[in-house]
């Protein structure tokens, strides 16, 4: 079975909510929709306080090429447009909407005829994706339409669908594949057409055998779609590692996947594309895993964007008494949450509640130079060295050691027997070195 070649770890995958059916979350009383839910420029608000909106109404327009539209996820009245603290406590612009009923924009066809044939051109599909504000649903939230338009001179050969879900605990993609296999495959076909490729590979880790089997059955009748089971290893869901695992090509440092002829899209994105093209429905809801060892009912929930995390946690049985940490995303790359009232966004794949006992870090020791961080680094870096260089602020040397290549997957910190916060320092070094590099190239 295939997997990527360099480094990697095997954390306990703890998929508590695997196989749990997707539940639809009841509408909250109020949603708060951030205008920046994607990488790139924040969208510009096009509604005003007091405006009536429906589910699917455009509330913020993309500004520039790398940006994405934002739509209202509910029907109701715009209560305010203000800066509110996000999950990290930083204030970001949001549109707050009081929910009244559940009315959708007229052109949205919620039932959606189950079509398989389309006579849309690549450009038409991309335009619709752009209008619908679809971004990478795996968490990176890169606007999808940008990814589908390769820079001049580059040709895509293969579309890679990321259904790896290598983060422990998270099961939203798994649930999606089990319950919406047909829709996902149609979405993949649409993405293939948009990217002008005739070959797609869906990479799924081997811990989701039922999904692999189901998709293999359904895809056997379709031309050009290949389901590829992958050996479990973290971080296989990283774009570069997935391409390496599937087609054996390594994306060069600093380059995009298109350099080796690949376009990578998340399986959730494929589903969102299906919804947009078939149902005319913009990206206003997503499947979120709510999980945690002490949580009463770990679940996969279909949630409207902008729903407060706290409402979702309450829906899953309430915050357990012993919760020490709330994480937006998975435990390896997710962010610790300060403000549990912050909204679910387009890139929110899960909410993980960590019990107190597991949320404290252990005090760090001296580096014992065991080299484990070096052997698990999937980019072939030397984390112990990078941490030392960053601690001493030796930016030039850190640049020579390619700190900018770091994926921030966290394998080094995970594995360090001395509990050294390697990634904390490397991430800081990476951002500083990249800033220095940008300033230098700007000067030239």
């Amino acid at each position: 079975m295939r997997t990527f070649k360099i480094g990697g770890i095997h954390p306990n995958d703890a998929k508590l909510s695997a196989g749990v059916a997707i539940e639809v979350m009841p509408l909250p009383l109020q949603v708060s929709i951030p205008v920046a839910q994607h990488i790139g420029a924040p969208a510009t608000v096009v509604v005003a306080k007091g405006d009536k909106v429906k589910a699917g109404t455009l509330i913020a327009q993309a500004t520039g090429f790398v940006s994405a539209n934002v739509h209202s996820s509910v029907s109701g009245t715009v209560a305010k447009i203000d800066n509110e603290p996000d999950a990290s406590g930083n204030r970001r612009q949001v549109v707050v909407i009081d929910v009244e009923g559940d009315e959708w924009e007229e052109n949205v066809d919620l039932k959606g005829d189950f079509k398989r044939t389309f006579n849309l051109s690549s450009e038409e599909i991309i335009a619709k994706i752009k209008d619908a504000g679809i971004v990478g649903m795996g968490g990176a939230t890169f606007p999808t339409h940008v990814k589908l338009m390769p820079p001049p001179g580059k040709v895509a050969e293969v579309l890679i669908i990321n259904a790896v879900e290598c983060e422990p605990y998270l099961t939203s993609d798994h649930a999606l594949m089990l319950e919406h296999a047909d829709e996902v495959l149609i979405g993949v076909q649409l993405l293939m057409r948009a990217a002008k490729v005739n070959r797609a590979m869906i990479g799924i880790e081997n811990n989701k055998k039922d999904a692999i089997k189901l998709l293999q059955e359904k895809a056997s009748k379709l031309i050009g779609i290949e389901i590829c089971p992958l050996r479990m290893k973290y971080p296989q869901g990283s774009e570069k590692q997935l391409i390496d695992a599937l087609i054996g090509r390594q994306v060069p440092s600093g380059a995009l996947p298109i350099e080796v002829g690949a376009i990578v899209q998340n399986v959730g994105t494929a589903y969102a594309v299906y919804e947009t093209i078939v149902k005319n429905k913009p990206l206003v809801e997503r499947i979120v895993t709510v999980t945690g060892q002490s949580l009463a009912q770990p679940k996969n929930v279909l949630v409207r964007i902008g729903t407060p995390m706290s409402a979702l946690i309450a829906f899953a049985g309430g915050m357990p008494e012993n919760t020490g940490k709330v994480i937006a995303g998975g435990p390896m790359m997710g962010r610790a949450v300060v403000n549990v009232d912050a909204p679910i966004q387009k890139g929110s794949s899960g909410i993980l509640l960590m019990p107190e006992a597991l949320s404290e870090r252990v005090e760090m020791d001296n580096c014992i130079r065991c080299g484990k961080c070096v052997s698990v680094c999937c980019m072939g870096l030397q984390p112990y060295l990078l941490m030392n260089l960053v601690e001493k602020k030796m930016w030039q040397e850190a640049e020579q050691e390619a700190v900018y290549d770091c994926l921030e997957c966290g394998s080094c910190s995970f594995t360090c027997p001395a509990h050294r916060p390697l990634l904390d320092y490397i991430r800081y070094g990476k951002s500083t070195v990249m800033r220095i590099m940008r300033e230098r190239s700007a000067k030239k």
């Binding site: 060069p252 440092s253 020490g324 994480i327 610790a336 949450v337 014992i368």
Partner: protein
């Protein structure tokens, strides 16, 4: 504790590995060889090993407490391990006060004066051993015959080790393979049974404390080197397995050279490091004054570890070689 939510950068989970766990695993891996030592050398082995372990732990505690004034580090068991490894490199009839001096040098000079675990350039146990070898050459090179609990501590009957037999050209007096494998030869405490050490090594590999790179590259190098010598003149040089099974070869290759702190970080670096340990060991064994060269070889390569780390980098992902 307060009820506030904790916030830290990702990752939020840890493998559960710790320094202490690794040290304990190495100690566990040494237990078979320790049992063999106790069985073969009796009370002498017990006195030497307990003295070494107790004094190493004590010295680390005292130095950390009164000189470095840092947090107590003996609970990561590294001092205990150093003591055990040091005693494995000593003959079982060594007077206890020499063992204490060796421990003081191992911990004080070998480790703590560089700032404690993780900062020492040389393997502390070997620093202690080599210091004793130079300071007490007679006591350090008379090995008692393994007579079990019948042997006395200080007045044990001594005999030559296989390596000194080779050095003296007495190839016909060498013990047979089985005896060398099963510990029926004289030698330092922990080095006499290749079998027990190999069992420990397999445990270390299975628990992923060490990787195969260093031991295998050392042993292969030594095997190849001695095979060539044997091919040149079978009357002077013994078969390769004699070199592999005798002296500190197994102990050194599996336990001493693989010491985290003083060995290279990358797998390729480890192979280079092991190769040179093998070469240097054989050069000393064949042409040097001392019958055994493992400790020197490891210490010499310890000194080269920083250079290996500097120049032998892991292969980077997506690195395009052509430009």
């Amino acid at each position: 504790m307060d009820n506030l939510l904790k916030v830290a950068p990702s990752p939020h989970v840890h493998s559960g590995d710790s320094v202490a766990k690794n040290m304990v695993r190495v100690i566990v891996a040494l237990l078979p060889a320790y049992a063999v030592a106790l069985y073969s050398f009796g009370v002498g082995a017990l006195v030497v090993s307990l003295t070494a372990m107790a004094s190493c732990v004590l010295f680390e505690y005292l130095i950390q407490r009164f000189l470095l004034k840092g947090k107590c580090t003996i609970n990561n068991y590294s001092a205990l391990l150093t003591g055990l490894l040091l005693s494995f490199n000593l003959p079982s009839n060594l007077p206890w006060w020499i063992v204490v001096i060796g421990s003081a040098v191992a911990i004080g000079i070998g480790k703590m004066c560089f700032g404690g675990l993780g900062n020492n350039p040389f393997n502390p146990a070997l620093v202690g051993r080599v210091f004793l070898l130079f300071s007490f050459p007679v006591q350090m090179t008379t090995w008692p015959r393994p007579l079990g609990w019948a042997s006395s501590y200080l007045d044990a009957e001594t005999m030559a080790t296989p390596l000194s037999l080779i050095k003296g050209g007495k190839l016909n007096e060498l013990p047979d393979v089985l005896n060398m494998f099963l510990a029926n030869t004289p030698g330092s405490l922990g080095e006499i049974s290749a079998l027990a050490l190999l069992v420990g090594g397999i445990y270390l590999l299975a628990t992923k404390v060490i990787t195969w790179h260093i031991p295998v590259s050392i042993l292969l190098t030594v095997a190849a080197f001695s095979a060539i010598l044997y091919g040149i003149d079978p009357t002077v040089y013994p078969l390769p397995h004699v070199y592999l099974l005798s002296g500190g070869m197994m102990l050194g290759a599996i336990f001493m050279a693989t010491d985290y702190v003083t060995s290279p970080m990358t797998h390729r670096g480890m192979l280079i490091y092991g190769f040179f340990i093998g070469i240097i060991t054989m050069i000393i064994r064949v042409w040097g004054v001392y019958p055994e060269g493992m400790s020197f070889a490891i210490l010499i390569m310890n000194a080269f570890t920083p250079i290996i780390n500097k120049y032998v980098k892991p292969k980077r992902f997506g690195r395009v070689t052509k430009k």
